[in-house]
């Protein structure tokens, strides 16, 4: 069973993710802030982490950095959940080592397919290709802008 850790300070968002991911048969863990998220990630070793960026205290970027620095959590794919629409914010996430990003507001029904698809490709060892595709996609968007 796919285990997803949702780190977000907004309770409704966490609930939204939980309801919709569980509906697709995934196990969902929640953390309301960065430190608790790191703790959970290390303890529960989730398959995927959905990480909010704008959180009081430790923000999403810092959490991602710490996850990627830690041997126990380095391999866990991170998908950023961000309300910040600017390209630079999206790019920053990918630069940090995130695999994908989801811009708020999002359709919660699309979360599960995104996670499944990503896990499949990462499982095939296409983790870097996936990031590259996303970066290229972003660059194309930035060029069009």
């Amino acid at each position: 069973m796919t285990r997803v850790l949702v780190i977000d300070d907004e309770a409704p968002i966490r609930l939204l993710c939980r309801v919709n991911l569980e509906a697709e048969g995934m196990e969902v863990l929640e953390a309301p802030d960065g430190p608790k998220g790191l703790e959970q990630a290390r303890a529960a070793e989730p398959d995927v982490i959905l990480l909010d960026v704008m959180m009081p205290g430790l923000d999403g970027w810092q959490v991602a950095e710490q996850l990627l620095e830690d041997d126990r959590t380095r391999s866990i794919p991170i998908v950023f959940l961000t309300a910040r629409a600017e390209f630079r914010d999206r790019a920053r996430g990918l630069d940090l080592g995130g695999i994908d990003y989801v811009t708020k507001p999002f359709n919660p029904l699309e979360l599960a397919p995104l996670v499944e698809d990503m896990l499949k490709r990462v499982g095939r060892g296409e983790r870097d290709e996936l990031r590259g595709e996303k970066l290229a996609e972003l660059r194309a968007l930035m060029r069009d802008e």
């Binding site: 968002i13 309801v19 509906a23 205290g57 029904l109």
Partner: protein, 867 residues
């Protein structure tokens, strides 16, 4: 001369010796001979005719034991005898004349030897008492020249006495001739000396005045006069220009020019004729006034010789006066002519010298003036300097400078009597005199303005009593006339060419100096203006020279960079600012953005650059103009952050609303009622949150446009405060403890309850947000004398002093506890809160120290007591 006499005496001795031996009266004759010889010796030693003659008759009377003795001069041409000296006879006899062919004297001349007479004829009553007389002629190489006579009142003369007188007369003739010769030689010597003097005057570069005095002295000496004067024409009048021993009366009379009573002299000068007056007192060519003057001054005779003046058209005169009546001979006249010629030469020489000296003096004066003017940079001072210098230069009394203003000449500056009144006087540039100078662009010199009364009308300064005028045009650059420089003299005077040249040169100097000064003034003004502009301009202006060193660093540059001018000058911007200001390459583009360090912070400059090039095209300097856009950038950044933040703030509730709606719409999952309710409640609350955000934005817009409306009424604030706090407490403010401190009595303020709620909510929200580690939040409301004061105190991170002024600004958001953490919120809360407090007539403030919490407070007017 003495040897000649000795010879004559020896001859006489030889001649008398045989006679003495032949006569028995030898012993008698011997003392007579001795006496005669002694007398002759005495006479032979005397060279002054005036003393020879009295001596002659005295000795003669003594030798011949005569009662009387006399000597008459024979005027051959007039055939008359004139008494020259007497002994034993009345002195009045001197000057008495008698015809040469009468009396005993005539007989003696005719006989050519002494004549003895008893009861001689009496030509004058003085001779009446004589009993005997002898008269002997004085015979020289040219015949008789006079007669010597002796008389006895008692007794007669012998033939021997006659022989003796004859011998004496021969010797006397020699003595007189000798004295005359000497006198003549003396006269010639005097004349020669006169010529020598003139020659030496000619040879010396004497000044004109010295030359004229020397000529007067030479004339006096050459002609044996008592005094002399030199008169030269000046402005139509013969003016006294030189003199020697001239009596006071004559000096005074000639001081104002030759008087009309001596018009004959002027006529003679004009006609270049010599005028000789042996007896001025009864010369009817002169008016009685002049004759009386001459008598008073002791001038019995005068001789006037014309002198050519080298410069003037008309001639001058040398006047020689004689104290005693003088028969003026042809020799005298000839000498006078030579004298006049020599005088002309001397004058010419002197005038040349004088002209050269004047020119040199003028040139020196001009050079001094020129250097003075060259250093003068104030146009008014230039003019003042010129009007002072010009009269000094030319020995005139006044000066004006007129400058052209349109078609008028306006007196700009003046010096000398009467010029003050003429200041600012205007005259047409096409008028007489001054206008003529402008139109002809040439000097105009008038020796005497009285010759035409229109001159005085043309120039008001002339009307002040000036007689001579010299005006030259002021010719500026491009050869345009821009004024007239005039000098005025109280006396008529002939303006010399070098004087006119000098004034013209001064005018040229003046024009140049004026141009310089005006140029300098305009440059100085421009510079002053530039400095004023640079000093007051809000943009920083920095100029660097060829070496890239700062030469200009204005006040705004000091302000913007925080670096004082003194520290910047002479160094490069790189040294001063730690970075270069120059653009890459040679052609700067438009505005560039540049960050510099100012007091440890980045300051953003919008900079433009101008490159200065020398004529060869090489960069000779750069000017940078920059503006501090840090504040603009700050606002820009805040706006950008705001948009981003608002976007975030809107997206968060939208995510929930959209997400839960989509979730509820899922057909594949069946949610329980409780779940559905939870979803729907989230949708509702997030929608409300969204509305709040939109309201806040609207409030900002209203505050910006002044459209915010408040409905003020007396409100008990306690329930409003409690409500907000309880809502915050419910809202899951983790780890915060709320303390509400309210009075038990109603606390009424003049307020809009909705707005009050909004304010308190914002402050509480902030208190929670900026005390992330929890702690106590104390909310209080208190009645003050006229107000109700609210306070929200937290134990959070506090606000640095520097930030406290800015927190109420629009878009301002406090930095998060750590730099890397994202800030949240729209940055509008406190801005809106302040706007609302103000709209209700209150004020809001903060007290805080960094790290030890913040205390926000605001006050509203207390509700007026109800009756």
């Amino acid at each position: 001369m003495r040897r000649f006499f000795q010879g004559a005496i020896e001859a006489f001795r030889r001649r008398r010796a045989p006679a003495a031996r032949a006569t028995p009266s030898g012993p008698v004759a011997r003392p007579e001979q001795t006496a005669l010889l002694r007398a002759i010796e005495t006479l032979g030693g005397e060279l002054d005719l005036d003393r020879v003659l009295p001596e002659l008759v005295d000795r003669l009377a003594e030798l011949l034991r005569a009662d009387t003795a006399d000597f008459y001069v024979y005027g051959r041409s007039r055939q008359r005898l004139r008494c020259a000296v007497v002994h034993g006879l009345p002195g009045e006899l001197v000057g008495f004349e008698v015809a040469a062919d009468t009396t005993l004297a005539g007989e003696a001349i005719a006989a050519g030897r002494p004549v003895v007479a008893t009861s001689p004829p009496v030509p004058h009553p003085a001779y009446e008492s004589l009993a005997g007389a002898i008269v002997a002629p004085l015979v020289g190489a040219e015949g008789a020249s006079g007669v010597l006579g002796v008389g006895r009142r008692h007794g007669e003369f012998t033939a021997e006495d006659a022989d003796f007188l004859g011998a004496f007369a021969s010797l006397a003739e020699l003595a007189i001739r000798n004295a005359e010769t000497f006198a003549e030689r003396s006269r010639q010597e005097r004349v020669q000396r006169g010529f020598y003097r003139i020659a030496s005057v000619l040879g010396q570069p004497l000044s004109l005045a010295a030359t004229l005095d020397a000529i007067a002295q030479a004339a006096t000496e050459a002609l044996g006069g008592s005094s002399a004067a030199v008169l030269m024409p000046r402005a139509g009048v013969l003016e006294l220009v030189g003199s020697h021993e001239l009596p006071e009366d004559l000096t005074r009379a000639l001081g104002d020019g030759l008087p009309d009573s001596a018009k004959a002299l002027a006529t003679a000068a004009a006609a270049r004729r010599i005028l000789a007056a042996s007896s001025v007192a009864d010369d009817d060519r002169f008016e009685p006034e002049w004759r009386a003057l001459a008598a008073r001054a002791g001038a019995a005779s005068l001789l006037a010789a014309p002198v050519e003046s080298p410069r003037q058209g008309s001639g001058g005169l040398v006047l020689v006066f004689f104290a005693e009546r003088r028969e003026l001979t042809d020799d005298d006249l000839e000498l006078a002519i030579h004298l006049a010629d020599a005088t002309g030469g001397a004058l010419e020489r002197s005038e040349l010298f004088e002209a050269e000296r004047t020119s040199r003096a003028l040139a020196q004066q001009l050079a001094r003036t020129g250097s003075l003017l060259a250093t003068e940079l104030d146009p008014a001072a230039v003019l003042d300097e010129v009007v002072q210098q010009a009269p000094a230069l030319l020995g005139a009394e006044a000066c004006t400078v007129r400058l052209l203003a349109g078609d008028e000449l306006v007196v700009q500056s003046g010096a000398g009597p009467g010029t003050d009144a003429a200041l600012a006087a205007r005259s047409p540039s096409t008028g007489r005199l001054l206008g003529d100078i402008v139109q002809s662009r040439a000097p105009i010199a008038i020796d005497d303005v009285d010759v035409d009364n229109r001159y005085a009308a043309a120039d008001p300064v002339l009307a002040e009593g000036y007689r001579a005028f010299l005006g030259v045009p002021l010719i500026g650059p491009e050869r345009t006339v821009h004024g007239v420089l005039s000098v005025y003299s109280l006396q008529p005077r002939a303006w010399l060419p070098e004087e006119i040249d000098a004034l013209s040169a001064l005018a040229t100097n003046t024009s140049a100096a004026l141009s310089n000064a005006e140029l300098y003034q305009s440059v100085a003004l421009e510079k002053e203006r530039s400095f004023a502009i640079l000093a007051n301009i809000a943009d920083g202006i920095v100029a660097v020279d060829r070496q890239g060193q700062v030469v200009l660093w204005n006040a705004a540059a000091e302000l913007i960079t925080g670096i004082p001018q003194a520290e910047a000058l002479g160094r490069t911007p790189l040294q001063v600012l730690g970075r270069t200001l120059e653009s890459e390459g040679d052609s700067p583009g438009g505005d560039r953005l540049l960050a510099i360090q100012r007091g440890g912070e980045d300051a953003w400059l919008s900079i433009t650059e101008a490159i200065m090039r020398d004529p060869a095209g090489v960069v000779s300097g750069r000017i940078f103009a920059f503006r501090d856009i840090s504040a603009d950038r700050f606002v820009e950044q805040m706006k950008s952050d705001f948009v981003s933040t608002v976007s975030h703030e809107l997206r968060t509730p939208l995510t929930s609303i959209y997400g839960f709606a989509e979730t509820l719409l899922r057909q594949d999952v069946q949610f329980g009622d409780q779940e559905r309710e939870t979803f729907l409640r989230y949708i509702a609350s997030e929608a409300e949150r969204l509305t709040g955000i939109v309201d806040a934005l609207l409030n900002v817009a209203r505050l910006d446009t002044g459209d915010l409306h408040v409905n003020i009424s007396p409100v008990d604030v306690r329930p409003v405060v409690s409500e907000v706090v309880s809502s915050a407490d419910d809202g899951g403010a983790n780890g915060h403890r709320f303390v509400v401190d309210l009075p038990t009595e109603p606390l009424r303020a003049e307020a809009d309850p909705d707005k009050l709620r909004q304010i308190v909510a914002q402050l509480v929200d902030n208190a929670v947000k900026y005390s992330p580690d929890g702690g106590t939040v104390t909310i209080a409301a208190r009645r003050k004398s006229e107000t109700v004061e609210f306070s929200v105190v937290d134990e959070g991170m506090g606000i640095p002093q520097a930030e406290q002024q800015r927190i109420f600004r629009k878009f301002y958001r406090a930095d998060s506890p750590t730099d890397r953490e994202e800030r949240s919120g729209t940055g509008l809360g406190l801005f809106i809160a302040q706007g609302l407090v103000t709209a209700m007539g209150g004020r809001i403030w903060v007290e805080s120290a960094e790290g030890s919490g913040a205390s926000f407070a605001f006050e509203l007017p207390a509700a007026r007591a109800r009756l």
